[in-house]
Subunit: 463 residues, 2 copies
Amino acid sequence: MSIELEQPNLFEQFDLLIAKEDTFEIREFLNNQNISDVADLINEYPEYEARIIANMAIHRAASVFKILDISQQKDIVKELPSSKTAELLNELPADDRTDFLEELPKAAIRDLIKLLDPEERKITLSLLGYPEDSVGRLMTPDYVYVYAHNTVEEVFTTIRRYARNSETIDVIYVIDETGLLIDDLRIRDVILSTPDKRVDEIIDGRVVSLNVNDDQENAQQVFKMNNRVALPVVDENNILLGIVTIDDMLWVANEEFSEDMQKMGGTEALNEPYLDIPILKLFKKRVSWLVVLFLGEMLTATAMGYFEDEIAKAIVLALFVPLIISSGGNSGSQASTLIIQAMAVGEITIGDWWRVFRRELISGMLLGSVLGIIGFIRVAVWHSIVPAIYGPHWMMIGATVGFSLIGVVLWGTITGSMLPMFLKKLGADPAVSSAPFVATLVDVTGLIIYFSFAYLFLQGLLL
Amino acid sequence: MSIELEQPNLFEQFDLLIAKEDTFEIREFLNNQNISDVADLINEYPEYEARIIANMAIHRAASVFKILDISQQKDIVKELPSSKTAELLNELPADDRTDFLEELPKAAIRDLIKLLDPEERKITLSLLGYPEDSVGRLMTPDYVYVYAHNTVEEVFTTIRRYARNSETIDVIYVIDETGLLIDDLRIRDVILSTPDKRVDEIIDGRVVSLNVNDDQENAQQVFKMNNRVALPVVDENNILLGIVTIDDMLWVANEEFSEDMQKMGGTEALNEPYLDIPILKLFKKRVSWLVVLFLGEMLTATAMGYFEDEIAKAIVLALFVPLIISSGGNSGSQASTLIIQAMAVGEITIGDWWRVFRRELISGMLLGSVLGIIGFIRVAVWHSIVPAIYGPHWMMIGATVGFSLIGVVLWGTITGSMLPMFLKKLGADPAVSSAPFVATLVDVTGLIIYFSFAYLFLQGLLL
């Protein structure tokens, strides 16, 4: 993008200004940069972060502040004098302020909220009352509303009066005297109308709204399906409470994906950038799942113990254990990831489980057969090179390996695909059925499948 | 959300209308629904999909068409008479049309492009020239531009003339006579100005633009950092070519996420909804990775073969093989997922490898120690219950298991975290270092670590 080309220059300029220590010039310089460039500056010069924020026009400082990482935000607030913090918090759009406050310890929130204007304080507190991940947390009360009996000319007057304090004026909301949402009105339709037209003549009565308790993930779907840059948020009685803007959805999408991915990798959601999270916290987020998986995996040692005699009689059986169980694990991880992803983007729902089951049954048979055949060939080829390895019963050993592979791959595929749907059905997060979790689950059963086929093919020969 | 409450009613109404077969009433009904509700209808009544599209005002039909799945779009175009298809394609915003055409076989694209107006044809063909995943593929040429010498009044005249055909009028672009991008202008700033002000008096000279060859992923970051509903797209000479709107970014985010997840699960990107992809194609996308992993995993059988004598002497060693290697795999999957995710959202870059390495070294030591201690306790407890299991050398067996766990977990953590960064450095997609891939890689080395510790602790005792 074009701004990247300018960056070296930007940093050089800043270096010069810092060397000069001319506060006025620094202010001038900062107020003439793009918001994103200033954010880059802060990333490059963390030691000046508070000074950079303090030396900008307050509305621009707020725009920069809201796109910084939470850890940077915390650092800046710590360094700023509290009068400046108050100015900054007051200037932040209500939704971004809520996001920031939410990340702070309760006591710090109390202290900071005291810094707000009474008006801003009320807004922030009410926003903090909605459950996390609800639309209520994203909404801003800064929007323009008009009444159905207003004329287009009156609408323009309202816009001129309130536009400075609104997050968007691309969409204007039409309400009645009780605050009931009647319709939304795009600015384009206002501009295209004559000044004497009444609002109720140009509205079309089609409005899509979000409920304040809706899930943010849900809101994202609604935005994707409706060509709007902002959507109104209402309560159960259809009273307009605020609006949500589409740019917040990009952040929601990112956060959601990060959490899903982290869970699928077998760890708790970090909720902090990887490099910022203290190492002991990182350890805590990771260790619990690893221990759970380890305890589960201990069953493999128990299972192997049951087959100790068989292994003693035919050491050759032990050689293929890692190959067999990992194939089950890999096919299970593959299936579970596919299904979790498809559920996350809404391609499949629990109701589709039977269709998914049939597809995975066929896929599992096909995949298992391919690996089974390769496994058999492996035994046959090694036998033809060094006949001593597997001895006279190489063909039965090959059959054991081949059929076990079909069995474990099929089992892995079915388990991996059904488990996320089952978890969702129970109301749990399907992303918990991570690749490591499925692999662990399949390992133990894989051993049983393997040794069962060994009995079948090798009893009376090696066993 | 509120629209869900109305849905049963919607379907009932549609059932009644279909039963009546009154085309006029159906038209009337369809033209009075929300776009997203009509899309729901099509999902519910796939048998009527082409009829629903054919019976709507064409600009509304286009709005519905563009939010349908590609498979539905294909079905509809197959069923529609070609005159209607032409109307529909002409009505689609250029970027959505390109998206749709891109999914079709080349010959079908040729036939469909013939249906376009000469003007639309030119736009579509030029859009199709940009590499997939580039900003060029997302841009639409339907925007409003003005010149710096225009007055606010003239801007309003321009808006009134072109607004109907624009994707957005929330942002207006200021260019010079050669088409060079000078600035962007928010509609709010136009409305807040007096009619006689000139454009060059109200612009601030701060414009963030995307290059037509930029990656879409990159564009998404720029949108996140800049409070704009649309961004201008320019070529190397800063000539304005089109605009990209923020709603397209939500789709980009979703697609990217899906592809990353699928790769991380050890499969090729499906590029089609799970339930729509033909089962043989699904099989093909999955089998190649499973076979590669299987061939890699065969090395475990070879490695186990080297240690066959040791296993024969101490069968007990075989019992812990699945536990040891899976612990390495799990910690490796966990680390690789964390790093891939952090790189995907831009939290870490290749330059951070040394910081990541140190963090993972410490994490790996801590995680390995926890599992190692649990592993040793497991051996000690079993020994105290049934002393015959591990015999007199139980403590050395416990030490072998414990130290091996520290070794494989540390190794898994380091491999899992460094591999994605290494792949990125090579220009490959880090998501390829999926959980199964890392697990397979760690399995073979895990065996070597395990048997090395066995030599160390058990030589002269059991070995």
